[in-house]
């Protein structure tokens, strides 16, 4: 019960962090929070419904960011599935190595967004687009570590899959 509450709370928090007002120079380097939170749950919580959550979170992102309905949903679902699929490999890496190994996944997500925007005739500055990959990679160890310590405190004595 508490576990699922934490799950939902982390999703809502990611949504808020994604739309919170930032100064212009910082907004460029805003990490893709939905990506971080979905990546974490897909990787370290094998029984969390991460894929369905990815889709719902994506739809919420689309509404809040006024993107075509389904754009972020598609990207997040693909990311969640890829990470679930490869979680057997990723789980072996220590935190910082996992951060590096996840770069292609973030790049895939950003490329999908870029591609859909192109199909929807939404031109955009392409240098700004790739910045979230860098910031998400930097934010990953911090974010995953924090979220994991929260979970670890709750489920201290239970046999759970956690960060190695």
């Amino acid at each position: 019960m508490i576990a699922s509450l934490g799950f939902v709370a982390s999703l809502v928090l990611a949504l808020m962090l994604q739309i919170v007002d930032l100064p212009e120079w910082a907004a460029v380097a805003r990490p893709a929070w939905p990506l971080l939170v979905i990546g974490y749950w897909a990787l370290y919580a094998p029984n969390a419904p991460a894929i369905l959550a990815a889709w719902l979170l994506g739809i919420c992102c689309d509404v809040l960011l006024s993107a075509p309905l389904g754009q972020h949903a598609l990207g997040l679902v693909v990311v969640a599935i890829v990470i679930r699929r490869l979680s057997g490999i990723y789980i072996l890496f220590p935190l910082w190595q996992a951060a590096l190994a996840l770069i292609p996944v973030w790049a895939l997500y950003v490329f999908l967004m870029f591609w859909i925007d192109g199909l929807a005739r939404h031109a955009a500055d392409s240098t700004l687009r790739w910045m979230p990959i860098v910031s998400t990679t930097i934010a990953w160890p911090i974010f995953a570590g924090l979220l994991d310590s929260f979970r670890a405190r709750r489920t201290r004595n239970r046999d759970r899959m956690r960060l190695p």
């Binding site: 889709w55 509404v63 309905l69 598609l74 679902v77 599935i81």
Partner: protein, 358 residues
């Protein structure tokens, strides 16, 4: 405290329910279906988006609260700063009052002259002040969310201005809020004229957050750095005569027949918490997507664009306008080359009445 494998590990080894491939196919095709349906303009999806947007309002409120808290810190400013502000504002008010006095007489004169010309368009526009709820959620999508929506009569395509100039237009209306596209967005184009010469062109957003691009200027156009751009009112989206920006740079590649100008918007797009929604005269009540072509006598060789500006009556009697060219905002200085530049009417905002030649 169990010593055996927990449920979680067992589930991951032998997953029950649909597999990953099935989930991927299902959700991905659902997403793609949604995108295609929305592109086709499905009304139910529009409704669903409005409902979702309404349901997510609390999230937006909480997310914008840090900015409000930062605004609250302003209350703790020193007395000196407040006094200084007050003094400055008083001075400004005095200056504005003086200008307003002159403006009133000018307005009266303008109305008299318009009556002489039997033109029915008025100078005053109906406006509504809206608070900016959220800004710049994406660095490459220049949009703001306003706290006024369909309940307040906001409509799609409505112009948005601030104290300095045009900010953008409303692209999505929810019951209690609306989303506006700023003029710097790469998707946005606005018909403008150069205030000094009356030259008509289109200003597109550059997408870098603070620039406009005028790509359809003929190579010999009379444009200078510092020229003021005002809305031309063509297309009916934006009311005529509002400042849009000032020319900052001219790029003329040798051998090219077109030159490009870079302008900076007048409006303070990323500052301030308030904006004005303007009801322009020729706005269509609901969607504004279908523009009716208006019969404008285009056989006047000298100034077709001036005639187009006057042809903005309230819809019923479009043909009743006499073919009298009245320059509303531009000084009558557009000689022969000016009409030649008119075929720059490319984006959707441009009206049909232009004699378009590629």
């Amino acid at each position: 405290m169990n010593t055996t494998l927990s449920d979680s590990s067992r589930n991951s080894l032998f997953p029950r329910g649909p597999g990953l491939g099935v989930k991927l196919t299902l959700l991905a095709s659902l997403s793609i279906l949604l995108m295609v349906a929305e592109k086709r303009g499905n009304p139910q999806l529009e409704l669903a988006r409005q409902w979702l947007s309404w349901a997510l309002t609390p999230v937006m409120w909480i997310a914008t609260s840090p900015a409000e808290v930062a605004g609250g810190v302003d209350h703790l400013r020193s007395r000196e700063a407040l006094l200084r502000d007050n003094h400055e504002l008083r001075e400004r008010l005095l200056k504005q009052d003086a200008r307003l006095l002159r403006l009133e007489s000018l307005e009266a004169e303008n109305i008299r002259i318009r009556e002489l010309l039997a033109s029915s368009s008025s100078l005053e526009d109906r406006v509504l002040i809206a608070e900016v709820l959220a800004t710049s959620q994406d660095p490459y999508r220049h949009q703001i969310v306003l706290n006024k929506g369909g309940r307040d009569g906001v409509y799609r395509g409505q112009a948005l201005v601030d104290a300095e100039g045009i900010m953008g237009q409303v692209v999505q209306v929810n019951p209690g809020s609306s989303v506006a596209l700023l003029i710097t967005d790469p998707d946005h184009g606005i018909p403008v004229e150069i205030n000094r010469t009356g030259l008509q062109t289109i200003a597109l957003g550059r997408g870098d957050g603070h620039g406009l691009s005028l790509p359809y200027l003929p190579g010999n156009a009379d444009v200078k750095v510092g020229d003021l751009l005002v809305t031309s009112g063509l297309g009916g989206r934006f009311p005529a005569g509002y400042p849009v920006g000032t020319i900052h740079e001219l790029k003329h590649a040798g051998g090219e027949s077109f030159m490009e100008a870079i302008a900076y918007p007048k409006a303070k797009l990323s500052q301030g918490r308030q904006a004005l929604l303007v009801w322009s005269e020729r706005a269509l009540p609901s969607s504004g997507t279908e523009e009716e072509p208006i019969a404008v006598p285009i056989d006047l060789p000298v100034k077709p664009e001036a005639a187009a500006t006057t042809a903005t009556p309230k819809k019923p009697a479009p043909a009743a306008v006499p073919p009298a060219p009245t320059p509303t905002s531009a000084p009558p200085a557009a000689p022969a080359p000016a009409p030649k530049s008119a075929p720059a009417a490319k984006p959707a905002a441009a009206p049909k009445q232009q004699p378009v030649t590629p």
